[in-house]
Amino acid sequence: MRRKLAPYLLILPGGLWLVLFLVVPLVFMASVSTQEGDVVYGFVQTFHLANYTDALVQYKTQFLRSVGYGLAGTVAAIALAYPVAYWIAFKGGSRKSTYLLLVLLPFFVSFVLRTVSWKFLLADDGILLQPLKDAGMLPADFHILATSVAVIGGLTYCYMPFMILPIYVALERVDPRVVEAAHDLYATPRESFTKIVLPLSLPGVFAGVLMTFVPMTSDYVNAAILGGPANTMIGNIIQTEYLTNNNYPVGAALSFTLMAVMLVGIFVYARALGTENVLEAAAR
């Protein structure tokens, strides 16, 4: 009897914490999202589903922009991460762990501080642009901050490790004997890459996409620090509705919609690739 109870007693405190502060709050947010009222007179539950349609109509642009930025950032992250992961996995030799540590080190600096640092770097009169402007290589009004390039670049930068690591793990698992066999059967280096290494490493890429696209799309810090009024993402709107306007129902409706879009996206993505494939990749 005692042995049967043991796992439940061990799970209880942590499990209770997760249920109370992860599952229950979602129910409350669902409830808030259909309320009406304001912060002075209080909010009343009226099952006002129009909060959703109103919010979506009003902020459609920001929603689409967030998904677009998320996709662009994810693609950029793959392009930057894959060759690096490949090089470390196959050419790193005895210094693999040193290279991995080097890749991870920048992320020991606070996320906000790193983004602020990019703002310094890319400033209109900052250390990158000002010298080029002085040399006449760029027009005086050239700027990177407050453009979509700055925001997408910032997003790509922030989530790089989540792309490099899964791809590295997948490449590291590729059995060199399989590649050797391809060479012995007269495959060119290009063929052995596209037909052997790339397919075997795809689960890592899928896992990386899963781990970067969702946080990139719901990010608002990069858009707030590096972007301008024309680069507002849905996260910025939700943050403003909650923390500045105290318009909780609209914020909750947007947040719920964002979560639903992400869940549907993950589901479709998983189905398209074969569920086991993605779950297996995610489990790593």
Binding site: A6, I11, G14, S31, V32, P106, E172, V179, R190, Y242
Partner: protein
């Protein structure tokens, strides 16, 4: 993760004994023109590394900038003076202490809860295990924004004033699953016969746990705790939603962006970075010695 797959094919006899790190791993494309390809890849990797380190270098260097204006953007000469004036912004210092104390409290709670969960998940088969795994996966993968907004919705609906302790609650929430997963991995790899031997020699359950089981899972507990601390001290999004009027280090920096971030922030960031690097290096070196 590694195993025999990464040992060279040319020496099949020695695969079991060869220290795998010493072996020159034969990468896939390795004939003819691949040497040129290698050089391109090498350069690409270093370019990406430079890109990754660029903002860190700027952060460190501009802590020594003799800036006159509020915005610390252009280089105006080298100085050590900000190091002597670290405490110029009492609110910044307070925010940093908040960050550290919140991280310490959250780490202590998270490590206790997560370790228990990890032991349960690694050792027992029980009904509800799948559901537990699902909730943990949800906690790890849901967007911070959704966690932050839903927690704030809860606190508002219940009339709870957000502040220091609601931040602690939130930090335990998002890191407990990471500790549980780390400890579970360690528990799964345990050799049960050692505990059995202890019991055969007359040790009680309690003694067996503290003298035998716990020391064996301790490395997992320590890495879980370090991870929880790192996640907590760096968190911005969930903290912003649950902090009310309490300020943490990242929140203070975010608030200062518009009016200009003082060099003190760069120096404090550099110090935190140095401590993190030191811990990571020590952890890597000791874990290499252990295996």
């Amino acid at each position: 993760m590694s195993g025999p797959a990464s040992t060279p094919v040319s020496t099949p006899v020695s695969t079991a004994t060869a220290p795998r790190a010493e072996a020159p791993a034969p990468g896939p494309p390795r004939r003819g023109r691949s040497r040129k390809g290698d050089r391109v890849l090498f350069a690409y990797t270093w370019l990406v590394l430079v890109w990754l380190f660029l903002p860190i270098a700027v952060m460190i260097v501009f802590g020594f900038n003799d800036t006159k204006s509020k915005s610390n953007v252009s280089w105006q000469g080298f100085t050590f003076k900000w190091w002597g004036r670290l405490g110029d912004y009492p609110e910044l210092t307070g925010a940093l202490w908040n960050s550290i104390s919140i991280a310490l409290i959250a780490t202590a709670v998270t490590t206790a809860l997560g370790t228990l969960m990890g032991i349960a998940l690694g050792r027992y088969r029980f009904r509800g295990q799948g559901a537990t795994n699902l909730v943990m996966f949800a906690a790890i993968s849901s967007p911070e924004l959704v966690m932050g907004t839903s927690l704030l919705s809860l606190f508002i609906s219940m009339g709870v004033q957000t502040g220091y302790w609601t931040v602690v609650i939130a930090h335990v929430l998002f890191s407990v699953s990471f500790v549980a997963v780390t400890v579970r991995a360690r528990v799964v790899g345990l050799d049960g016969s050692v505990e059995e031997a202890a019991r055969d020699l007359g040790a009680s359950t309690w003694i067996t746990f503290w003298r035998v089981t716990f020391p064996m899972i301790l490395p997992g507990v320590i890495s879980g705790a370090l991870l929880a601390f790192a996640l907590s001290i760096d968190d911005f999004v969930i903290t912003q939603f649950t902090s009310g009027t309490t300020t943490t280090f990242p929140l203070w920096i975010y608030g200062a962006v518009r009016i200009g971030v003082p060099p003190q922030v760069n120096i404090l960031g550099t110090l935190i970075f140095a401590v993190g690097v030191a811990i990571a290096v020590i952890n890597t070196v000791t874990s290499r010695r252990r295996t």
